[in-house]
Amino acid sequence: MQRTTMDLWVGLFVVMGIIALMILSLKVGNLNVYNPSQSYVITGNFENIGGLKVRAPVKSAGVVVGRVTNIQFSTETYDAVVTMSMDARFQFPKDTFASILTSGLLGEQYIGLAAGGDEAMLKAGDKIMKTNSAMVLEELIGRFLFNKAAEDDSF
């Protein structure tokens, strides 16, 4: 089979296409190789998850240490069960405190972990006992108005 310049151009075209896909996934998409075998799953019950979504980050000290993989409603305890897939490199004590926080004033919601002081570590399938619900603006305003009214009455 004889080679032609056309082959060269087509080869160049394919190489450019693959490079474009690589740029998209590495430079634009920040593809980090996520290995599910190197992660462990923990759950936590929250009274109110606010606007938390699946795939939201789990952060500790501002560093992403895991992702929310599932959110379900439990009819036994009537609260939300949030499943988190944690990076196996990061182990947390049993009495870690999980709270739903908001990045910035209007940003997305994430789960913030504050490590406790327990000797024992959270294992796969464990449940975080200490949780703090999302801040809901309406409740906050309601509480504020209630307190204000109580203050006014005391005068």
């Binding site: 089979m1 056309m6 082959d7 151009w9 087509v10 160049l12 075209f13 394919v14 450019m16 296409g17 693959i18 474009a20 896909l21 740029i23 998209l24 996934s25 430079k27 634009v28 998409g29 920040n30 593809l31 979504k53 795939r55």
Partner: protein
């Protein structure tokens, strides 16, 4: 009933039946192309030849329009976001709109008018000058020899062209907002990287462009093969290719988007 109304209804019915007939014919033709593509994939230099004409020669229009679309997105996005003091999110805007929608869709529209019309005209003219019939006489199957290589070349080149369009768009947005206007370079890239997800954005955009590639080339090839063997017939078929594939791209885009992004974030 007046005769004019009856004949009007008749002509509507005739058109409906005619278009359903053509749709059935097109489906049968599509299956036939898939069945006979084994031979053309084994003789891969036929596909390479067509890749040169559909892919390589479409490169310039794709690259240049990608660059300009990205530049316009950057400018417009900056104008709006700057009012809310969040001009650093312009990278997110440019990248997400390109990777999810504009890259696959605009690249496919350009591809339909640049390469799709050429395929239709070529095959239609081959038919009009009885080259296809001559091939049949020599026991060379025109679908395996002429149609299938063009089809596969279009299917292969479309995702690459869409990816290049998106990359050039992101670069164009970078050029306008970071280099000319002066948005912080670090926040342009970092906000983009934190917002664009590989699985949900890039992979879905890639799947979209594959679908568009199949749709555009299938329409182009069928219109060419089905064209009336006259000069007028070929020109009509070329027009129909561009019109039909543009409509199919946009409709398919809606359906695919509804499947892909429903319930995600």
């Amino acid at each position: 009933m007046p005769k004019r109304i009856v004949s009007g209804i008749q002509s509507i019915g005739h058109r409906v039946i005619e278009s359903i007939w053509r749709l059935g014919l097109a489906s049968r033709f599509f299956i036939l192309v898939l069945l006979k593509s084994g031979t053309s994939l084994r003789r891969f230099n036929l596909v390479i030849r067509e890749l040169y004409f559909t892919g390589v020669l479409s490169l310039i229009i794709i690259v240049v329009s990608g660059l300009f679309v990205g530049m316009v997105l950057g400018l417009q996005g900056y104008e709006t976001l700057q009012k809310y003091g969040s001009e650093s999110a312009v990278g997110t805007l440019v990248a997400l709109s390109l990777v999810r929608e504009l890259g696959p869709v605009v690249a496919a529209l350009l591809f339909a008018s640049r390469a799709g019309s050429a395929i239709t005209a070529e095959i239609g003219l081959m038919k009009a000058t009885e080259q296809l019939a001559a091939m049949g006489m020599m026991a060379v199957d025109p679908i395996a020899r002429v149609v299938a290589p063009r089809f596969w070349a279009g299917v292969i080149s479309m995702p690459f062209l869409a990816a290049m369009f998106s990359v050039m768009g992101v670069f164009g947005g970078y050029l306008v907002t970071v280099v000319f206007i002066g948005v912080d370079e670090g926040s342009y890239w970092s906000q983009m990287q934190s917002a664009v997800d590989f699985r949900f954005d890039i992979l879905n955009g890639f799947i979209k462009s594959c679908f568009f590639g199949v749709a555009v080339t299938a329409i182009a090839v069928f219109e060419g093969y089905d064209a009336p063997p006259t000069a007028e017939g070929v020109s009509g078929a070329t027009t129909r290719t561009v019109v039909t594939s543009s409509l199919v791209i946009l409709g398919l885009d809606f359906i695919l988007t509804a499947f892909m992004f429903r319930g995600v974030s």
